[in-house]
Every structure is written in structure tokens, then in C-alpha cells.
């Protein structure tokens, strides 16, 4: 049994809860769905639903997270495209000016709505890469697709985003 070193759900909540929440939030644009997803992931970790292989913790965790997310979409027949409630309330670095805060919020709202317009596969690849910070290998493992496909999804996702976003930065 290789489940002996499997992290407990409390470990996962403590170390990865915020990341999972951000992943779900960027994929759905909805705080309630994001919170639901975190709980669902913790429940799945608790029940040991996915076989755990030591050494591929990220792949294991994100596979659980992704499956939970996809099951949720299938169950609810919900297309995750709801708009942001009132901008983000996240960390914006060290005390930016009010103008900078406003601009950043507006920008992140734009980016968020552009993300929601991407086809799911591209959105997922881009979010796992740029929001969660996984390597291509980890993304391939989590999503069960070849690394070459990961690479092309990330690139095409970014290209589509670039076309949707208008900036001078």
C-alpha cells in the first residue's frame, strides 16, 4: 500500500486550500462555486478516492481537483461563466496608490471575463500554468493529456486572451 504517506485532508486544506480556491475561482468566476470545490476536494482526499503515488503529489492533488470540478459541472449542467461580483479583493503588492488599485481591479476583471470566454481546455491549462504555477509535466499528469498538447493549449489560450484583451499596460 502506498497510501501510508498520503497527506491528510487537514494538510491539504492548510497547504493547498488557498491555491485550490484560486484555481476554482479563476475557472468559474464565482466565490460560492470555488468554496464548494475546495470542500469537495477535501472530502475526496479524506476518502482517499484517488490512488496516491508518493512523489507526484501535485499531479495527484490537481487530478482530484480537476475531477471534482468537472463532476460538478456535469452534475449542475452549469457553464461556469457568471460574472465577477465586485472586482477582486486580493493582495496587490505593497501599498499601491488608490488609482493603481482601481486600475488593477479593472484589469483583473477584464482578464477574468476573458478567461471565462476561453474554451474549457485552454482555460484550464492557462490557469494551472499561470495561476497555480504547475510545470507542464504536472499539468499533463493532472489532466491526463500529453505534454505536447499541454504546451499547445497554453499557447493558444494565451493567444486568444491577448486578442480579447485591450491594453496599453
Amino acid at each position: 500500500m502506498d497510501d501510508i504517506n498520503r497527506p491528510t485532508w487537514e494538510d491539504v486544506a492548510h497547504r493547498y486550500g488557498r491555491k485550490i480556491y484560486n484555481f476554482a475561482y479563476r475557472l468559474t468566476g464565482n466565490p460560492d462555486d470555488a468554496a464548494d470545490l475546495v470542500q469537495e476536494v477535501l472530502l475526496r482526499v479524506r476518502k482517499g478516492l484517488e490512488r496516491y503515488e508518493p512523489g507526484s503529489f501535485e499531479g495527484w492533488l490537481w487530478r482530484i481537483t480537476r475531477n471534482a470540478f468537472l463532476d460538478d459541472i456535469r452534475r449542475e449542467k452549469r457553464r461556469p461563466t457568471s460574472p465577477l461580483p465586485e472586482g477582486d479583493h486580493g493582495h496587490l503588492g505593497s501599498s499601491p496608490s488608490p488609482d493603481e488599485v482601481l486600475a488593477a481591479v479593472r484589469l483583473s476583471d477584464d482578464v477574468q471575463s476573458a478567461l471565462l470566454k476561453l474554451p474549457y481546455d485552454f482555460r484550464e491549462a492557462v490557469v494551472l500554468c499561470d495561476v497555480v504555477g504547475l510545470t507542464y509535466d504536472e499539468i499533463a499528469e493532472a489532466t491526463d493529456i500529453p505534454v505536447g498538447t499541454v504546451r499547445s493549449r497554453i499557447h493558444r489560450g494565451r493567444k486568444m486572451l491577448r486578442e480579447m484583451l485591450t491594453w496599453p499596460l
Binding site: A13, D88, G90, C129, D130, H155, R162
Partner: protein
């Protein structure tokens, strides 16, 4: 140069380059591409800006009850046993209204607790040792534990009783060594472990039934 239909993924290597995901051969390829092809340079800049913007997305804070509040872990057992101070009970009850995971954990703990408490009390068989005169037995396991003095004969008796208790649990389903929760509950003398009036879950919360 002859006109070639551009491959839509021709520049995918640029994203991989930005992400530090290229091997040495591909690295040389990208450097050559960027030094020869102005279109590649323009594409590279666009992709780089997009990546920057994505990386700059603010971290969204989850609601406090989800992560900032500690989950209750081993305090859930103490909660079931009524061993927590009132303030902590209040905060656990509040936490249970939102946290599905602690709710499910509590439910499982309660089932184990019921199973153990349901074990039948056994009489010491007379042929092993004549019952010693002892103070009136208390039904509470907590107190009984302190009263035991492991003199040799008593230790042997306890050992035998334990074996008998184990056999009495295992033998009825002789072919199947697994003890199921329903076996235990069926054989149980007192099926409910929770004192009347002590509610495991707040009234507003449904018990989880896996």
C-alpha cells in the same frame, strides 16, 4: 522566400520558452527564430505581456470559515464526549454549519464511538476465578480503569475475558472475519451512545449519511 501557410502552433515554442519548459535543442531553435523573424518577435512580446497579466492576477482570499479557521480534528471526539469548554462548543457548532468535511468526520467518529460503546459487558466466567469481593461496580468505564490493580490472577482473568469477548464478536459470522458496523449494532445492548438531550449536530445541520 516562398509563401507557406503558417502553422497555427508554429509559435507554441515561444510560450514554452517563457515558461522555462524547453530542452537545449529547442532553446537554440527559439533563439534562431527570434533573431531571424520579426513576426516571431512581435508574437513573443504579445505572449509575454499576456503571461505577465495572468501572473499579476491578485490572489483571491477564500472565506474565513473555509481555511483561516482551523478545522477541528481531534477536538471533534472531545466534542462528542462533551469534554470541551462551552466557548469551544459554540465555535464548533458554528463551524459545523458551514464545513462539510468536519461534519462528515464527526459522523464517522460518532459511528465508531457508538460501536465501541455498544460492546456487551461480559461476566467473568466462574470456573476461571471466583468473583472477588469488590466495591460496587460503576458503569462508567473511565472510573473502572483507575480501580484496576493488575495482580497476576486479575491480569490473567482480564486477558481471558478479553479473548472471550473477542471470540464472541468474531464467532457468529465465523466464515467472514470482517466485523461490520451493522454486526456490532445488531449485537449491541444499548444502541445509542449519546446521552438524551445531547445533540451531536446543531438542529440546522443535517447528518451526513455516506
Amino acid at each position: 522566400m516562398a509563401a507557406v501557410t503558417p502553422d497555427p502552433d508554429r509559435f507554441a515554442v515561444l510560450s514554452a520558452y517563457l515558461d522555462g519548459e524547453l530542452d537545449d535543442g529547442e532553446l537554440d531553435e527559439v533563439i534562431a527564430l527570434l533573431s531571424e523573424d520579426p513576426e516571431a518577435v512581435a508574437e513573443f512580446r504579445r505572449i509575454r505581456d499576456t503571461k505577465r497579466v495572468l501572473r499579476a492576477l491578485p490572489v483571491v482570499e477564500p472565506p474565513g470559515w473555509l481555511l483561516d479557521v482551523e478545522h477541528y480534528g481531534d477536538r471533534l471526539s472531545a466534542y462528542l464526549d462533551g469534554e470541551l469548554p462551552t466557548e469551544e462548543v459554540t465555535s464548533i457548532v458554528h463551524h459545523l454549519t458551514t464545513c462539510r468535511v468536519c461534519r462528515e468526520e464527526l459522523h464517522d467518529l460518532d459511528r465508531s464511538r457508538i460501536a465501541v460503546r455498544a460492546l456487551p459487558g461480559l461476566d467473568v466466567p466462574r470456573f476461571v476465578a471466583p468473583p472477588e469481593p469488590r466495591p460496587a461496580a460503576s458503569p462508567e468505564p473511565e472510573r473502572r480503569r483507575h480501580r484496576l490493580r493488575p495482580r497476576p490472577i486479575a491480569a490473567a482473568t482480564i486477558g481471558l475475558v478479553a479473548v472471550l469477548a473477542l471470540l464472541s464478536i468474531l464467532s457468529p459470522g465465523a466464515s467472514d472475519p470482517t466485523i461490520t458496523m451493522s454486526d456490532l449494532e445488531a449485537r449491541h445492548i444499548a444502541r445509542v451512545s449519546i446521552e438524551p438531550g445531547f445533540s451531536v449536530l446543531p438542529a440546522s445541520v443535517e447528518a451526513v449519511d455516506p
